[in-house]
Symmetry: C2
Subunit: 206 residues, 2 copies
């Protein structure tokens, strides 16, 4: 029966036990033109939450209109965690709202600076092991537009301490990012209702 | 700024307003060899829950080992709904546990019969408009194995009443299923850590 599992092509000679290999940090990229890149990243967040992981979500595209459902649920899951100790803590930051840790309000104009500052904050958090899982939503775009230095990202990911999982989404992922990422999935559009002139649906798109 | 949106290739001459077109029922299939098919389906469930939709999840592959995180969160969301009225109700049924509506315990042997019975129950529910969203997880396999008649599925989907969204996952989706589906996304594996001999990770795979 299909299980979605892949047989190891080889067993590494790394001296680790199976149990140790199950606790390795993962980097994942969801890319491609199709739907489901962010949706699958937030789905991964459900598993992490249920394992009690501390989750940081960082959204890199200004309008967060289409993610309100996920944001509402994860904020609710964070409240549950605070009230009952169940699951993990969740922080949700949006570039479009000037990042919540930023002293000043975000300006409409300087997206590039906002993105660069956001990345610097994430880098500080990674180096301080602030979260167990980072969801960097639509992170490929500020890299593509040159607002965030891909070499700095690669270096930070490669040398991050501890067991921090990093999940990144967006089209046109930089080849350097792909190279240092463990799990890369491409979402391809086969058919889309909007091609037939249909509109985004309540409960589906937001 | 990329928004993941697709410009309509054409505007249909269907006499509907934009508002009406936003309330049309959607069928979606997540297929392909890559990760994220089910994960993105459950991510879609978050949005639906937040819109107050009644969700029915039906898992068609016996071992549900890898979905415990999602199941735990959705059961919690259902409890929240029952306690506070927030979000929508969620029912979660697993073929491996003999379907919870079934009178008898599921036998280990007769997967084909379990799958066929599961589909009959789903069909009854669709015809009765029991849920707003159906997540039919790994539904393509019993179709592929001939346990569920694809023509019956196609007919049921095409003629379903009301505004019920149907999300289906699994590899090798039948071309007839693709044909009647509005939104088809293929998840393609570009890179997978298990190829390098790595194990499934706690908080990532389950």
């Amino acid at each position: 029966m299909p299980r979605g599992q892949v047989d190891p092509a080889n067993i590494p000679d790394d001296g680790l036990t199976t149990r140790q290999r199950r606790m390795l940090p993962i980097t994942a990229v969801h890319t491609g033109e199709g739907k489901g890149k962010s949706t699958a990243a937030f789905g991964m967040g459900l598993r992490a939450w249920n394992q009690g992981m501390n989750i940081g979500v960082f959204q890199f595209v200004k309008s967060a209109k289409w993610k309100v459902g996920e944001e509402a649920v994860f904020k609710r899951l964070n409240q549950l965690h605070e009230l009952t100790g169940e699951g993990g803590a969740v922080e949700w930051h949006k570039m479009g709202e000037g990042w919540s840790w930023s002293k000043k309000a975000g300006t409409e104009e300087d997206h590039a600076r906002d993105a660069a500052e956001g990345w610097q904050e994430i880098k500080r958090r990674i180096n301080a092991q602030a979260h167990d899982m980072y969801i960097l939503d639509e992170f490929t775009y500020p890299i593509k537009w040159g607002w965030i230095d891909v070499d700095d990202v690669v270096d930070t990911l490669k040398n991050r301490p501890g067991k921090q999982h990093i999940v990144m989404t967006g089209r046109d992922a930089d080849p350097k990012l792909i190279e240092v990422t463990d799990l890369v999935t491409e979402m391809t559009k086969i058919k889309h209702p909007m091609d037939a002139g249909r509109k985004g649906q309540k409960g589906i798109e937001w």
